[in-house]
């Protein structure tokens, strides 16, 4: 085929160009097809997800956390609800319009300053107003058409009926901080979630967290609601049944708070099971005020209310350590209980002088009375005879220098000194003087109040005891048991029966006639030991550890009043109040009974 009127050459020339044009168009359409294939087949799922996401707006509703009960069927932590007005920007509108803002201001009758909530999953959400009442919430919902993009969400808030008294056991909750989210997101936490901090709230956070719910709404491009799809109700977290006895907790806290310095800690354990009946650190902080400005006051407070002294504070044990020296002496040295030693109030070793706390001296004392009177001179001599190796060995036997393993966070392990430590740390040789003060629980020996209570519960049971624990069982919203505590036996402290009976007699004598007289009851026999721990930071710490009833121990108590002075004067009365509450003795308890009814 050739063009009319033209020569063949011109036509062939054109056909050549024509081919190039056709190939060029083929290439263009292949490019378009490749792009189409890429968008729809390769990236199809991604774009599908984006289209769903911009079509559906999720109004998240935070789930309330689980409730924490005390062992006496009281509520330690529960929830209350309040409403917040939020602005979910419809697509293409990043900022809320002034009209909408004005309308909302008229409805609520207050000034509104939008705050960005960067943590929402679906872009930026503005928090318009906090703490709405139910009526305000309904008003805002009614005006839905006018208030474009504004929605109301129900927010749960934690309530702590015992407030300060239980703060360190329960802990508190707060929003995940930006710097934490990297680590926590691996565990399934999302920005904006609340997590427990301290106490049971932290330790059992995974159980307490509920399942977030909310509304799913189909919106069009202008942000108007087209269809309300589904509502998924948020699911409350599992309930925790703790071993804490709210009455003891309160009594112990009040007693500590009313002590001389108002600082200290108390731990009450069930002697048989190891359950933590109460764990108090004073001063505490009001866990209900976490969101308020007051919270920063707690952070700055010099008395460190956020510091859980019962688990985290390291104190020198002072004279209460004498029970360890006592046991070691009977076991290793076969000390006869009738052997007497003279206390003149002074003790000399080389060129150093050591004194007894009772300046005039106790005179001639046997083992039992030396313990009851907490004579330092007697125990210096025992310590020297035992040597540092034995003291260290027995300290570790009595679980010192390691964590008790209680199911509460941030426990400290304490420290038992030895010559190697002193050499490497202080670049000094271990001297006999170090052994001397070691024997009365001073000098490099650090323990926590919980460790003391734990040690005492094994003494009460002749070397047998359980690991302390604070949570008995966890039951989810469907009534299914998710967790039940299994008792864990501690390593048995293997001492002879003679040692145990002598130690028990000595501890009983301490309360009957010794330094712990203030805790003597008519019908219940209490065994215990007081301590006055010297410390470099000020007045002595007042210690009291004990258990009762002496013949069949039920509970164990460890009390410390920071800088409280003498243990017998300042700590023992607190222990007494706890016993009174536990055994329902005295006028106070009767009052409580009436009010309970």
């Amino acid at each position: 085929m050739v063009w009319q009127k033209e020569d063949r050459f011109a036509y062939e020339n054109f056909i050549e160009k024509h081919k190039v044009i056709l190939v060029f168009f083929i290439l263009l359409f292949i490019c378009l097809s490749i792009r189409l294939f890429y968008l729809q087949i390769i990236k199809g799922n991604k774009y599908k997800a984006i289209s769903e996401q911009q079509r559906l707006h999720n109004t998240n509703e935070r789930a309330p956390r689980g409730i924490i009960y005390s062992s006496d069927n009281d509520v330690l932590v529960s929830n209350e609800f309040f409403y917040v007005a939020l602005y979910y920007p419809p697509d293409g509108h990043k900022e809320i319009s002034d009209e909408t803002l004005k309308d909302l201001e008229i409805i609520l009758g207050r000034d509104i300053k939008p705050k960005t909530d960067k943590n929402n999953k679906y872009g930026k959400v503005l928090k318009l107003a906090d703490n709405l009442t139910k009526e305000e919430m309904f008003k805002v919902r009614e005006q839905n058409m006018r208030l474009r993009g504004v929605s109301v969400a129900r927010e749960p808030r934690r309530v702590y009926p015992l407030a300060e008294a239980s703060c360190h056991v329960t802990g508190y909750t707060s929003e995940i901080k930006p710097e934490e989210i990297e680590d926590l997101s691996e565990q399934g936490y999302k920005p904006g979630d609340y997590i427990g901090r301290g106490g049971i709230e932290q330790a059992y956070d995974e159980y307490l967290q509920g399942k977030t719910g909310g509304w799913q709404v189909e919106v069009n491009a202008r942000g108007y609601r087209v269809k309300a799809s589904k509502y998924i109700p948020p699911e409350i977290g599992a309930s925790i049944y703790s071993t804490i006895n709210s009455k003891l907790q309160k009594v112990a806290y009040d007693a500590l708070k009313n002590s001389d310095t108002g600082k200290g800690a108390a731990v009450v354990l069930d002697a048989k099971t190891g359950a933590v009946l109460s764990l108090v650190s004073c001063p505490g902080f009001d866990t209900n005020k976490i969101r308020h400005k007051e919270f920063s006051k707690f952070l700055k407070d010099k008395n460190l209310p956020l510091f859980n002294r019962a688990l985290q504070a390291l104190y020198p044990p002072g004279s209460i350590f004498k029970v360890v020296t006592f046991a070691a002496a009977v076991e290793v040295l076969n000390i006869s209980p009738s052997e007497k030693v003279l206390c003149t109030g002074k003790f000399e070793l080389g060129d150093r002088h050591y004194t007894c706390w009772y300046k005039p001296g106790h005179g001639w004392l046997d083992l039992i009375h030396a313990t009851a009177q907490s004579c330092n001179i007697y125990f210096y001599q025992l310590g020297l005879k035992l040597g540092v190796k034995n003291l260290e060995k027995f300290s570790k036997k009595f679980y010192l220098g390691r964590k008790t393993g209680v199911d509460l966070p941030n426990e400290k392990s304490g420290f038992v000194p030895n010559p190697e430590w002193k050499k490497s740390k202080q670049k000094m040789k271990w001297l006999q003087g170090d052994t001397v003060i070691f024997s009365i629980g001073q000098g490099g020996l650090w323990i926590t109040p919980l460790q003391m209570a734990h040690m005492m519960s094994s003494i009460a049971n002749k070397g047998v005891c359980n690991k302390p624990y604070a949570v008995e069982k966890i039951i989810d919203v469907n009534g299914e048991e998710l967790y039940r505590h299994k008792p864990e036996k501690e390593e048995r402290i293997d001492l002879s029966d003679l040692t145990w009976s002598l130690l028990h007699t000595a501890l009983l004598e301490t309360i009957e006639s010794g330094t712990g007289k203030r805790c003597k009851f008519k019908y219940i026999k209490v065994a215990g030991k007081t301590g006055t721990a010297q410390n470099p930071h000020g007045k002595d710490h007042a210690w009291f550890i004990s258990y009762a009833p002496a013949d069949n121990p039920e509970i164990v108590i460890a009390v410390i009043v920071e800088h409280g002075g003498g243990g017998g004067v300042n700590s023992v009365p607190i222990g007494r109040k706890i016993y009174e509450a536990y055994f329902n003795i005295g006028s106070e308890t009767e009052d409580n009974k009436e009010s309970a009814i």
Partner: protein, 448 residues
């Protein structure tokens, strides 16, 4: 008369390109379905469809008329056709009504007409006629100048509306026809480079200015903009390019690859000329004009727009996946996320609701249509027919590539519709008229 009619219909049925008819029929069917679906969102389906039906009906009558009309008369009437196109474009400037900032519409109440759509086809007829007549002079410079003079006559009038997107299709049509008639591709390339530099440099500068204003953080673009804006960097880059061209040519010469000296000279001349004229273009364009040009070329620099259209269009197409969401079930379309869905973004509607299957089929049929147009060009009985058919094929192909490329995020957003598929009376009417011209060429291929 009756016999003549019979013979016409006989010739029509026996000689018409049925592939072309099939492709066009299917494309229009897809178009009506997509327009129906995208209009239902606003309750406008009926209105859109009735307008489109009416325009397509008129277009079909035009198609038949133009098919029966011997296209060879256009060659002889080229001055009249050119004058008519001028009259259309001038009268729309005088009497037309303004839509979206463009004075390019004749408003007839419920239907309005955009004369530039018809003028484009007239331009193809006139340019082909000129090229056919002066084919022997195709190596001369005066030939090129005359061809571009014809082009600029239209461009100036359309720019006065101002309707930039319609002018875009003039360039590929002109260049492809010049290429087909035998103009050295190298010179066409130099023209593209020179013209691109003349308009591109001022636009790029404006574009970078706006990028710098909206960019909050450092990106490649802002860094590049800062680099180009500081000092005489642009001058350095251009001189480097010139030196590279000259030294490259010299190097090849030494390697005994002999390229006539005219090539590097013309190339360098085009570059220098482009840069120099860019200064004049920059001065003659007012600031707001430049800005509008840039925003029109790339709405992503417009902070409020922020490329919203393109993003939504990509989501719409992508979310259709293999089989699509179903007619009237596309969430992007029906909930109004997709902008301009019945006009410029009609392909996104097809992609979302019809999925890959229908979208790819649409592409295939569109290509089938363009391929048939090129076959008609090949089989034409004279050069004039071949040139007209090539011009029409190029027009459809570029409209399709630019529009579909745009909705898939491969090209900047322009206001170019997808011919035969987008809603719009004028575009369907003129498209069918163009197809009428094609048919006219085809059924006369054996007539000597």
């Amino acid at each position: 008369m009756i016999e003549q009619d019979k013979s016409f219909f006989h010739r029509l049925v026996s000689n018409i390109d049925w592939y072309l008819v099939l492709a066009v029929a299917i494309l229009i069917g897809i178009s009506f379905t997509a327009i129906y679906s995208s209009g239902s969102n606003y309750g406008m389906s009926f209105r859109y469809l009735s307008v489109q039906f009416l325009a397509a009906g008129i277009g079909f009558v035009g198609l038949l008329l133009l098919t029966s009309f011997n296209y060879q008369y256009y060659k002889h009437l080229d001055k009249l056709v050119y004058a008519l196109s001028f009259a259309l474009l001038v009268s729309v400037l005088l009497f037309g009504s303004v839509k979206r900032g463009t004075k390019g519409w004749f408003d007839f109440g419920f239907i309005s007409f955009q004369p530039v759509e018809i003028a484009k086809i007239m331009y193809i007829l006139v340019l082909s006629s000129f090229l056919d007549a002066k084919a022997k002079e195709s190596k001369r410079v005066s030939f090129l100048i005359s061809a571009f003079a014809i082009l600029f006559g239209h461009l100036v009038l359309i720019m006065m509306q101002p309707d930039f997107s319609s002018t875009l299709s003039y360039f590929p049509i002109t260049l492809f026809l010049l290429y087909a008639i035998g103009v050295e591709p190298f010179y066409l390339l130099c023209i593209v480079i020179g013209g691109g530099l003349a308009i591109g440099i001022p636009l790029l500068e404006t574009f970078f200015d706006m990028q710098l204003k909206i960019a909050q953080n450092e990106t490649f673009l802002t860094n590049l903009a800062l680099f180009l804006k500081s000092g005489n960097n642009v001058v350095y880059i251009i001189s480097t390019v010139l030196v590279l061209i000259v030294s490259g040519w010299w190097f090849l010469w030494k390697l005994r690859i002999r390229i006539p000296i005219i090539y590097p000279v013309v190339l360098c001349g085009a570059i220098v000329l482009g840069c120099v004229s860019s200064i004049f273009v920059e001065k003659s364009l007012k600031d707001y004009q430049r800005r509008r040009l840039v925003v029109f070329l790339d709405p992503q620099v417009d902070p409020r727009g922020s490329g919203y259209n393109i993003i939504q269009s990509k989501i719409a197409i992508g979310s259709g996946k293999f089989t699509g969401k179903g007619l009237k079930k596309g969430t992007q379309t029906q909930l109004g996320f997709l902008p301009e869905q019945h006009t410029d973004f009609i392909f996104s509607v097809i992609g979302e609701e019809g999925g890959w299957v229908i979208a790819q089929l649409t592409l295939i049929f569109y290509f089938l249509f363009i391929w048939r147009a090129l076959v008609i060009a090949k089989e034409s009985r004279d050069r004039y027919g071949s040139l007209v058919a090539t011009g029409i094929a190029t027009m459809f192909a570029f409209y399709a590539v630019i529009n579909i490329g745009m909705v898939m995020g491969m090209m900047p957003v322009t206001g170019m519709p997808l011919l035969l598929l987008s809603y719009g009376g004028s575009s369907i009417l003129s498209s069918l008229c163009a197809i009428g011209v094609l048919c006219s060429i085809h059924i006369r291929r054996h007539t000597y």
